[in-house]
Structures are given as structure tokens and as C-alpha cells.
């Protein structure tokens, strides 16, 4: 009947009787350790800035190093050659140092790790199959990602063998350069159900082809992540240097072994709303326990040049201690999480690996000391430093922290929290509310309950993620950003609400009414406010 349309969309301008109470955003913090990120709206601009940063050669890492260890600098440079396992092009932002002529022969860490993991496997990753453009399987993939150099050399394809797709890469490169000739930039092509999104960076072109629920903006965000993932392995400095020397260089040689990071990043982005929101999820912990863990780190890891210390459990942030003045961007944090998720080898032993955090400083590497604190390999401690020599110092720190956490039951609390399955939507005691995502903007953290009935099966969970993508995209639409969106779909009602302090995406049963939904949202905010100390890290701890 006309009165009950299948889907209705409206912006709540004057909700009758009920009003959304825009109080202080729960989980708000003036003192955050992550850079508050809004959403992906400004990705493009971000990237432009990035190039500018690169131009003034000296990044943050350079700055830190300069401040702390001027006298050691020469030594560091000298030792570069000796360290083969850690990559030699840790040039600390100085690409003028031409002392490593053979950079291309140095073994990539990723490759090295890969070899230790799958000894039988060659450098060619397992995902390369014989699928090509003509295979129906290949064609029916929901999302394709292609990376190639601006001369059209294939770098990465999510599905299929790049060599077999070489003509396709050629076409894409032709499209890009054809548009570029007229002084314009190709952004996206929409053909039927498919959208082709182009991200053009210096030397590299990334293309995403999706027939799923993601919007152009969302695909662009994913491409940016992938680009950052590439940088985290290479740094922008070396990327530039490579192409400066040989325009036609096959970057796969540098990246072989890193494909799995790209793969795992892609898979993560399809299920993890943190990427969508530009926020990380924290492990729910009592604030006293969290403080204790943070204090343990502060007291036992007072090491010069230690920039960030993170503890991550099951992709959730336990705590982060940072050097005063320096902040971690959620995008970089996601890269770190992806690193430890993708590489099983860290579970075997303490590791020492260079990593570039593109948002922090894309021009150089930080050194990461990665280790698991418990036997189940759930709690991971990451120490990030600019000092390439401090492995053993940090290893000691790690032991002291571990000791202390065992003593004060810190690890126990973490594994308890992991076992407890976060929290259930029923804890909120709001009928008809099925699921929600709540992001505190100031802390760049988000929280959401467990996936429960009716989202028990894989397809249903994917559908739910699609709903969030839809809601997010509608609200952050560039042409018409919304503050509130109430959408009645065939199976659920969605409500998205963005304020200065938070973003909230809620999924209700389809029969909920507007006043009921608003009431539920207000109750939910009260619930989050009550739980905010547990769900969020509100205090930023510094060395």
C-alpha cells in the first residue's frame, strides 16, 4: 500500500516528540594518542599534502634522529651495509647518501619472512593462479585491484597472474595517459554494476574495480591504503629513486613477498569497519587494568629514540604509549595491525623489522621490535624506534614489561577480555537495535558489539557490512553530506548520525519507527557514555 512503502529515506529535520540529544560525545577525549581523522573525504587532499612533505626531504624520523643522536649519525650510516637482514635503504630521510649502490639486490624483509614461513614456496605468491581475463571465475570476482607503474608495468593484481593480464594493464595505462594528455585526471568509470576507480600517485597507478556495495570514495580509500602498504615496504624515497633510475623497472622484484600484505589488507578491509571509519577498535578493559599496562610500559621502556610502544590483541588496541609531540595516525596503525596479522612468523620469535609508516613519515623506516607476550600468541607488543641498533635494549624492555604484566595479571585480564567476546547487543537493553558502530572522532576509536543473530552466517555478515558501507557513503557523500540519515530497507532500518564529536551507525529491525529509533539512539549514547572507560582509551600515555 502506498502508506507503507518498501523503503523510505528521509532526513530527520524535525523528529516529532523525540529529539536526538546531542550531548557530549561519549568516548570523547582531549588527550588522544591517535590523530583524529574525520573520514575519507579528505584522502585526496591528504595525498597531495603528502607529496609536499616529501619535497622538503627531512621527515619526522629525521627530526627525531637529529634531536636525539646527532653524534651517532655517522655510525648509523656506516653500519647500513652490514645489516643485510634489515633493509639497507634505511636512509633516514636522506636520499643524498648514495652509499648503497646495490639496493635492488638486497633482500626484501617481506620476502625473507615469507621464505621462513613457507619454505617450499618460491618468491611467486600462492595467489597467482592461471585465471585470466577470459575465465568466468576471474570475471565474477567482486573486487579487482590492479597496481602498475606509470609506464604500464604490472605491479600487482589481486586475482590472476599479472603477466597474463599485461594487455589489460596496458589498456588501463592508456586510459590514464589519454586523459592526462588533456590536462585532466581520470577518477572513475561507472559501467553498469561495475565501478572502476583510479588512484594516480607519483610513479604508481592503482585501479580498483568493484561490483559490490562500496562507493567510489570507499574504493579510493582502499586504494590509498594499498598505496600506503606499498610505501610501508619501500618508503616513498626509495620508490622515487627506483623510478628515477629506471622508468621501466618491474617493481614486483622489490615487492615480491609483500603481495600477501596487500592481500590480507584487502581481505581485512572487506570485513573490518575500522578502515571505513578511519578508527581503531580498542580491547575492552577496565581502565585501571589499562592504566597499569600503560604504566608498565612507561616505566620499563624508557629508552631513547623509542617513538611508539603499542600492545595489540586480536587486532584490537590494548594500549599505546608515545613520545611526546608525536602522534600515530589510525591509517598507520592499521598498517601495523595488518603487518602482524599477515605475518605468522612473528609468533615464532622476537623480530626486528623495518617499517615505514606513510602517515608518520613516508620517507624513511622506523625499526619495529615485534614480540608476543603470551604463549597463545594473542597479545603482541610492538616497539617502534628510530634507532637501528637497539634490538637488544628493546628485547630487555620487553622482558621487563612481560614480567610485570604477569605479576600484576595484566596478560590474564587481556586474555579474559578476548575470551569474553567483547560485548553483546543485548547488554544495551535496547529492543530492535541489532547492531551499531560508534566512532569517537576525537580519539579515532570505535566500538561495536559482537555480531549476533540474525547476522550469524557469512553472507549475512557481508550484507551487514554492505549496509554500513551504504550508510557511510550516503552520509559522507561529497556532493551532499548528511548529518542524519534514516533509511528503511527491506530487512532493516538504518540510522546514521554524524556530529562534531562522533559518528554513529545503527541497524534496527525493519519495523522500528522513527521515534522509537531516536529513543533507542539516545539510550545507546547513554550506554556508551556509561561504558566509555572500558571501551575506549581516553588517556594518552607518553614517555
Amino acid at each position: 500500500m502506498a502508506e507503507t512503502r518498501e523503503a523510505e529515506q528521509s532526513q530527520i529535520s524535525d523528529p516529532d516528540g523525540e529529539e536526538l540529544m546531542e550531548k557530549n560525545a561519549p568516548g570523547d577525549s582531549k588527550n588522544s594518542m591517535l590523530i583524529a581523522s574525520d573520514s575519507f573525504e579528505n584522502i585526496d587532499i591528504d595525498c597531495v599534502e603528502e607529496f609536499e612533505i616529501k619535497k622538503h626531504k627531512g621527515g619526522l624520523i629525521h627530526q627525531i634522529v637529529k634531536q636525539t643522536s646527532k653524534e651517532e649519525q655517522d655510525e648509523v650510516a656506516k653500519e647500513n651495509d652490514d645489516q643485510n637482514s634489515a633493509k639497507s635503504d634505511l636512509s633516514i630521510g636522506e636520499d643524498s647518501s648514495e652509499d648503497q649502490g646495490e639496493i635492488f639486490e638486497t633482500k626484501d624483509i617481506a620476502e625473507a619472512l615469507d621464505e621462513t614461513l613457507n619454505p617450499g614456496n618460491g618468491p611467486i605468491s600462492s595467489h597467482i593462479t592461471d585465471e585470466d581475463v577470459n575465465s568466468p571465475e576471474w570475471r565474477s570476482q567482486r573486487k579487482h585491484i590492479f597496481i602498475f607503474s606509470d609506464s604500464g608495468k604490472p605491479v600487482y593484481s589481486r586475482y590472476g597472474n599479472e603477466d597474463k593480464l599485461v594487455t589489460l594493464f596496458g589498456v588501463m595505462q592508456a586510459l590514464v595517459s589519454f586523459i592526462q594528455v588533456s590536462g585532466d585526471v581520470i577518477r572513475s568509470i561507472i559501467a553498469g554494476e561495475h565501478r572502476f576507480v583510479f588512484l594516480i600517485r607519483e610513479h604508481l597507478i592503482l585501479v580498483g574495480v568493484s561490483n559490490g556495495t562500496d562507493s567510489t570514495q570507499q574504493v579510493l580509500m582502499q586504494l590509498t591504503y594499498l598505496y600506503n602498504q606499498v610505501l610501508s615496504v619501500l618508503t616513498s624515497t626509495s620508490l622515487q629513486k627506483i623510478y628515477k633510475q629506471r622508468r621501466n623497472y618491474d617493481l614486483r622484484r622489490q615487492l615480491s613477498g609483500a603481495e600477501k600484505f596487500l592481500d590480507s589488507l584487502l581481505n581485512m578491509m572487506e570485513t573490518e569497519p575500522g578502515f571505513l571509519l578511519g578508527a581503531v577498535r580498542c580491547l575492552p578493559l577496565e581502565s585501571t587494568v589499562r592504566d597499569m599496562i600503560a604504566q608498565s610500559i612507561v616505566q620499563h621502556a624508557k629508552v631513547k629514540d623509542l617513538v611508539f610502544t603499542l600492545m595489540i590483541a586480536n587486532s584490537q588496541l590494548v594500549t599505546l604509549v608515545r613520545m611526546k609531540k608525536y602522534y600515530l595516525h589510525p591509517m598507520d596503525l592499521h598498517i601495523i595491525i595488518n603487518l602482524i596479522n599477515a605475518a605468522e612468523s612473528f609468533k615464532a620469535a622476537e623480530s626486528w623489522t623495518p617499517i615505514c609508516l606513510p602517515k608518520f613519515d613516508s620517507s624513511g623506516f622506523l625499526q619495529a621490535h615485534i614480540s608476543y607476550l603470551d604463549e597463545d600468541c594473542q597479545t603482541c607488543l610492538i616497539l617502534l624506534t628510530v634507532d637501528r641498533e637497539s634490538f637488544f635494549t628493546l628485547s630487555e624492555c620487553k622482558n621487563r614489561i612481560q614480567e610485570r604484566l604477569v605479576k600484576y595479571n595484566g596478560l590474564q585480564a587481556i586474555s579474559d577480555s578476548l575470551r569474553k567476546n567483547s560485548y553483546s547487543i543485548q547488554d544495551c537493553k535496547i529492543s530492535d537495535l541489532r547492531h551499531f558502530l560508534y566512532k569517537s572522532k576525537s580519539t579515532a576509536q570505535y566500538t561495536s558489539p559482537e555480531l549476533e543473530a540474525p547476522y550469524l552466517t557469512q553472507p549475512e555478515q557481508e550484507r551487514l557490512f554492505g549496509l554500513y558501507q551504504f550508510l557511510h557513503q550516503r552520509i559522507h557523500s561529497l556532493s551532499r553530506p548528511l548529518k542524519i540519515l534514516y533509511h528503511v530497507g527491506p530487512y532493516e532500518t538504518l540510522l546514521g548520525w554524524v556530529t562534531q564529536g562522533f559518528e554513529l551507525y545503527a541497524v534496527f529491525g525493519p519495523l522500528v519507527t522513527k521515534p522509537l529509533a531516536i529513543n533507542a539512539i539516545n539510550k545507546l549514547l547513554a550506554y556508551i557514555k556509561r561504558e566509555e572507560n572500558r571501551l575506549f582509551i581516553l588517556n594518552s600515555v607518553t614517555f
Binding site: 518498501e6 543473530a453 540474525p454 519495523l511
Partner: protein, 660 residues
């Protein structure tokens, strides 16, 4: 007579005239127009008096003593007292029993004053008689037991002549006074009282160098037309130089204080001897010289000059249909009868109001009748025709036939004309419906006279008599059929008459048979066809040929707001679980519906998401009603609970709140 000529006579004399003894030397014939009785008095009554009424049964036969020539003879309205006038001074009375036998004892009443002459008498009710004398009127109360009369009232006024008209509640007496007899005094008798209405003057034509002619009795009559009383005055020569005669109608005003008003002038455009009849609110003027009759309808063809309407004949003057009388043959032996062609417009004719023609020589009394069927072909303008027919008493079948013919191919009337005709029909129909409502409100008072007045063409008449030709005659293009029906519906709606659903059904069927679904859709969407349950059901049945009909039907049911059950069933049959739940919530029957029905339908969709939603909906309802989300055993929902658990696990069931 050739059948082709049949069509040219629209005025007839009734088939069975009342026969009486013709006037002869021995026989006098009287007609009492109050009781509509013909008196044949043989030899002053000694040889017998035969009285015939409008019904053949009422033949009264009796004898009276012959005491001279009878000048007037009339029964009282209840036929119990017979009044006979034989002299200019007195009136005699004879009482009648129930069995119409007389006691033969006459009693008499003389008028007052020695020089007074009784011009006539009238019965104003069963026991009240009024003598009209040249000096005025005298009202007497008759007491048949005592055989005496008592003078109730007298009125002194010089009377030249008088005209009386009997009315159900009394009657109107019109007295002519003044030197020219043109000053008329109407007096209305009702229930034993007399109302003197204001005197008025009839303007006489003035001719230079000539004495004004007196207003003659024969030129004046009283007529009831369309429920109003009129004084009908025939003017032979209205103005110097004018040729045609005319008839002037003076309307007696409802307001007792205002004099009768000249309202209509009927243009005869002929001269000579005229006689007037009123049939079915029409004025019939018989013209002897041309042997034709003209018909006027004062509501038709009027031209106003600011004061009164000038009316022209409805159709051209035409003669009365020849009348044949079967007479016992004089020449032939036996009982053979021969046909005798009556002379029409003969000098022997006497015309009485309202519709009586008597041929005294022939011994016939006819009623004048109007043949509408014939007239139909004489008025080509359909609007005028319908307007005319609607005013007639017995025109229903004629109107229906006219309407039917307007739709036939070949005789098709333009849509605009059809539309105006329907408007006229429905205006009358609406007035009737309103009066019905009023009558119901104020009991049955006034009812009979209202319903008898006008011709009602209602929707079922139209459906079964007019629109039925769509079925019989397949040559009519469907567009025209739809247009005609829509015009009719439009006309009904304009008069705020609820349209019967069979008309809609007809429209829909025509549209469906011709695949005009889009037009149908528009009609429904813009409420040209108004909502009803049968119509909604019809739409539902059309879903297979036109899918949007389903939604149209649902919308209609919703607007009706009395069809909640139907809506639920329709939606459930379509597995529209979410809409149906929204619907029951919106109409506030969530707490009363049976959960089982909905859960069953949800399970049948085999869509777990839908089943989850429906299940949760009823869990919430249970919580609200009983503060426990579980279903009660009486609801028989166990299998659905099991199904839910198998899909989503027991944890997904709403927790039972801890008892407080």
C-alpha cells in the same frame, strides 16, 4: 388508419368514455366537476336519475319527484346528501342512506332577501354548503338528521358570475364583481373556514370608441399547475390590432396578503372559440375553428419581459386523434355494432376542468390524455425533451427509452447533450433522495404527495434499462461507452449521490475488455471511481491481467478503513510480511491478531531475515502484554519457536526478565 399517421396524434381521448343518456327533450344532463359525476335526469327526476362517476361501479340510480326543471344537482362529497336546485330562490336536499336508497323526504333552504337570486351552490365539505347569490355568498351548515340548515356566515358582495374549483382540503371560489366583471374576488374554503384573498383586477383590452367588453365566465377557469393555483383567463383580442388570442395566467400567491400575480402569457396565435384543459400540468387549448389543440408547458419556452413569461406552444398545433365509437347498428339487424367516427371539436362539446370533455348529444364523457411516446419524435432537442418529460407524471419508461436511443449508433447524441440530460435526471433524483431523508426525519408527513410528483430515474433504472444496451449492441465503440458512463458518474458525483458499484463494475469491465488498464489506473488513482469493497475485490481479481491492480486494490481497502482483515489476508497471501506488520501496527490491532498466522506466513517465505523480524515483533508484543517474551501455550507457536532456535540458536531468544 395507416400506421404512419398513428405517429402524428399526441392527444387522445380516453379509450373508454363514460356513457350516459344523451341530452334530449326529456333528459337533462348535469356534470358535477367536484365529484366528477354525470347526472342524467329524466323528466325532472320522476323517470329516474342516473349518476355515473369516474369508476364504472359507482352507478347510482334513483328517482325523485318531478317538481319542475332541475337547474343544478350535486352530491355532497360523502355522497350522503343530494342538493337540487329547481328555482332561483331555494335549494332542496335529499338524504341518502348507505345503500343509496332515499327517504324521498326533501327539505329545502331559501336564500336571504326577497330580490336575491341563487346563481348556484357548492359543497365545501360534507355538511357545509355555500349558496352563491347575486348579492353575495351564504354559508350553511346542513343537519341531515333534523333536516334543517343553519346559516353560518354571509358575505355581501355583488356577484356577476362565479367559478369554483374543488381542492382536497376545500376549494377556491372565484367571484366576479365590478361593472365589467373583471374585478375578481378569490375566497379559499378550507376546513370550515373562509379566507378572503385579496381582490385583483383582470385588465381588459380597451378599444377606442367602443364599450369595454365584460369579462365572461366562459373565459375564466381555475387550474392547478405544478402545485400552484392559477386563474386562467382567455383574452380573445389582447390589444388593438393584435390578431392572435392569448391566455393569461394569474398565480394565486402563497402569501395570503398579496393579490394574484400575472405570471404567464400563453401565445395562441389564433382566434375563435377556445376551450381549455389541464392535463398533467400542461395547458391544452382546443381551437374549434382549426380543429386543433395546442399544448403549453409554463416551465418550457418562456420568454421573460421582466414581469411575466410569454410562453409558446411546445409543439405545433395538432388535432386530437380521431375517436371511434361502437354503436348499435340501426340499419342492420341483430346485435351487430358499427364503428361511428365521433365528430371532434364539435359544437356539442363542453369542456370541464381539469381534463374532461363531454359531448352531451352523444352522451360521452372523455378524459383527455397525452401520448408521450408520440411526442418524443416531435421535440428534436433532447435537452428540451427530457426537461419536458421530467415534468410529466408517467414518463419514466419514455425517458428511459429516450436515453437508450441517444446511445444507439446512428442516433447517437453528442456527449455534451448526454451529459446535460444526465444532469437533469440526477438533479431530480437528488431532490427526491433529499426529501426521502427529510421524510424519514420528520416521519411520514407529506410523503405521499411528494413521491407522487416527479419522475425518478435512479441508478438501477439507468443500469438495467439504458446501459444494458452496451451488452446487446456491440457496435457502440468502447470509448463512447466509457465516456457515457463516466459522464453519468460525474453527474451523480456532482449531485453528491453515492454511485452504485455496478456502474463502476461496468466501466471497469469495458476498460478491461479493451485493455485500457492505464486509463483504469488513472480513474482509480484520481478517485473517479470511488472506493468500495466490491470494487477492491474486483481489482484484486484483475491482478493476473494487470499487476498494478493489486496495489490499487490495497490502497482502496486502506482508504475504506473498514477492511483491515482483507488487507491482512491480501498481504499475507503475497508474503508481504513487513508491510502487514506495519499495517497492523498502524491500525492498532497488534495486540489482538493471532501471532501464529503471521509466523506461519513468515516461515513459508523461507527467508530467515523475515522470519527473524516477525518473530522478534511478536516477542516484543508478548513482552509488552505479559512482560514475558515467550508465547503462551494457547497460541500454538511451539513449532515456530523451534524453527527460530534452529536458525539462530537459543541465545537469540529474548531473555526472560528476572521476576521482580
Amino acid at each position: 388508419m395507416a400506421t404512419s399517421e398513428e405517429g402524428t396524434f399526441y392527444i387522445e381521448l380516453c379509450k373508454k368514455p363514460i356513457r350516459f343518456d344523451p341530452v334530449s327533450k326529456a333528459t337533462n344532463v348535469f356534470y358535477d366537476d367536484s365529484n366528477k359525476q354525470v347526472f342524467a335526469v329524466r323528466s325532472g327526476g320522476a323517470m329516474g336519475v342516473v349518476v355515473k362517476g369516474p369508476e364504472d361501479k359507482n352507478i347510482i340510480s334513483f328517482r325523485i319527484e318531478d317538481r319542475g326543471d332541475v337547474t343544478s344537482i350535486k352530491f355532497s362529497p360523502d355522497k350522503k346528501i343530494l342538493a337540487i336546485q329547481r328555482s332561483q330562490k331555494s335549494v332542496e336536499f335529499i338524504n341518502f342512506q348507505e345503500d343509496l336508497t332515499t327517504d324521498q323526504l326533501e327539505y329545502s333552504q331559501t336564500c336571504k332577501g326577497r330580490a336575491t337570486i341563487i346563481k348556484g351552490f357548492i359543497w365545501t365539505n360534507n355538511s357545509e354548503i355555500v349558496f352563491i347569490t347575486d348579492h353575495g355568498i351564504e354559508v350553511y351548515q346542513v343537519n341531515p338528521e333534523k333536516k334543517t340548515l343553519k346559516n353560518l356566515k354571509s358575505l355581501n358582495i355583488t356577484v356577476i358570475w362565479y367559478v369554483w374549483m374543488n381542492r382536497p382540503d376545500g376549494g377556491l371560489l372565484l367571484l366576479s364583481t365590478g361593472s365589467q366583471g373583471n374585478s375578481l374576488q378569490p375566497i379559499y374554503f378550507t376546513f370550515g373556514s373562509q379566507n378572503r384573498l385579496p381582490k385583483f383586477e383582470v385588465d381588459l383590452p380597451s378599444f377606442p370608441k367602443q364599450i369595454k367588453q365584460m369579462l365572461q365566465e366562459r373565459d375564466v377557469s381555475i387550474a392547478a399547475i405544478y402545485g400552484q393555483l392559477y386563474i386562467v383567463v382567455l383574452r380573445h383580442q389582447p390589444r388593438p390590432g393584435a390578431t392572435g388570442a392569448e391566455i393569461v395566467l394569474y398565480q394565486i400567491q402563497a402569501n395570503k396578503d398579496s393579490p394574484a400575480k400575472k405570471t404567464n402569457i400563453l401565445k395562441l396565435e389564433m382566434s375563435g372559440r377556445f376551450a381549455i384543459n389541464i392535463v398533467d400540468n400542461l395547458v391544452f387549448v382546443h381551437h374549434q375553428a382549426s380543429k386543433t389543440t395546442v399544448m403549453f408547458d409554463i416551465r418550457l419556452n418562456g420568454e421573460s419581459d421582466g414581469y411575466c413569461l410569454a410562453n409558446y406552444p411546445v409543439v405545433s398545433p395538432l388535432p386530437i386523434r380521431p375517436f371511434k365509437l361502437l354503436m348499435p347498428s340501426l340499419n342492420l339487424q341483430g346485435q351487430e355494432k358499427t364503428e361511428y367516427n365521433c365528430e371532434l371539436y364539435s359544437a356539442n362539446w363542453i369542456v370541464f376542468q381539469p381534463d374532461v370533455i363531454i359531448d352531451a348529444k352523444l352522451g360521452c364523457l372523455w378524459y383527455v390524455e397525452l401520448k408521450l411516446e408520440v411526442l418524443v419524435n416531435m421535440i428534436p432537442d433532447k435537452c428540451k425533451l427530457i426537461k419536458f418529460l421530467l415534468q410529466r407524471g408517467n414518463s419514466k419508461s419514455v425517458i428511459l427509452s429516450v436515453c437508450r436511443h441517444m446511445l444507439l449508433p446512428g442516433q447517437q447524441a453528442p456527449l455534451m447533450v448526454i451529459s446535460r440530460v444526465y444532469d437533469m435526471l440526477n438533479k431530480v433524483y437528488k431532490l427526491f433522495l433529499d426529501s426521502e431523508v427529510q421524510a424519514l426525519a420528520s416521519d411520514i408527513y407529506h410523503r405521499q404527495e411528494r413521491t407522487s410528483r416527479c419522475v425518478i430515474i435512479d441508478q438501477s433504472d439507468m443500469y438495467s434499462n439504458v446501459f444494458s444496451i452496451f451488452e446487446d449492441n456491440k457496435d457502440i465503440p468502447y470509448k463512447f461507452r466509457v465516456a457515457v458512463l463516466i459522464e453519468y458518474i460525474r453527474s451523480l458525483s456532482q449531485q453528491d449521490i453515492p454511485v452504485q458499484h455496478y456502474l463502476y463494475e461496468l466501466v471497469i469491465n469495458i476498460l478491461v475488455h479493451n485493455n485500457c488498464f492505464y486509463q483504469l489506473h488513472q480513474f482509480l488513482q484520481y478517485h473517479v471511481l470511488s472506493d468500495s469493497k466490491p470494487l477492491a475485490c474486483l481489482m484484486l481479481s484483475l491482478e493476473s491481467v494487470y499487476p498494478p491492480a493489486h496495489q490499487l486494490a490495497l490502497d482502496m481497502l486502506k482508504r475504506l478503513s473498514t477492511a483491515n482483515e482483507e488487507i491482512i489476508e491480501v498481504l499475507l497471501s503475497k508474503q508481504q510480511l513487513l508491510p502487514v506488520l506495519r499495517f497492523i501496527r498502524s491500525v492498532g490491532i497488534t495486540d489482538t491478531v493471532s501471532a501464529r498466522k503471521f509466523l506461519e506466513a513468515a516461515m513459508n517465505t523461507e527467508d530467515n531475515r523475515v522470519f527473524y523480524t516477525v518473530f522478534k515483533f511478536f516477542e516484543q508484543r508478548n513482552s509488552r502484554l505479559r512482560s514475558n517474551p515467550r508465547f503462551q501455550p494457547g497460541e500454538h507457536c511451539e513449532q515456530y519457536v523451534r524453527h527460530f532456535e534452529s536458525l539462530f540458536g537459543t541465545d537469540a531468544l529474548a531473555p526472560i526478565p528476572a521476576p521482580t
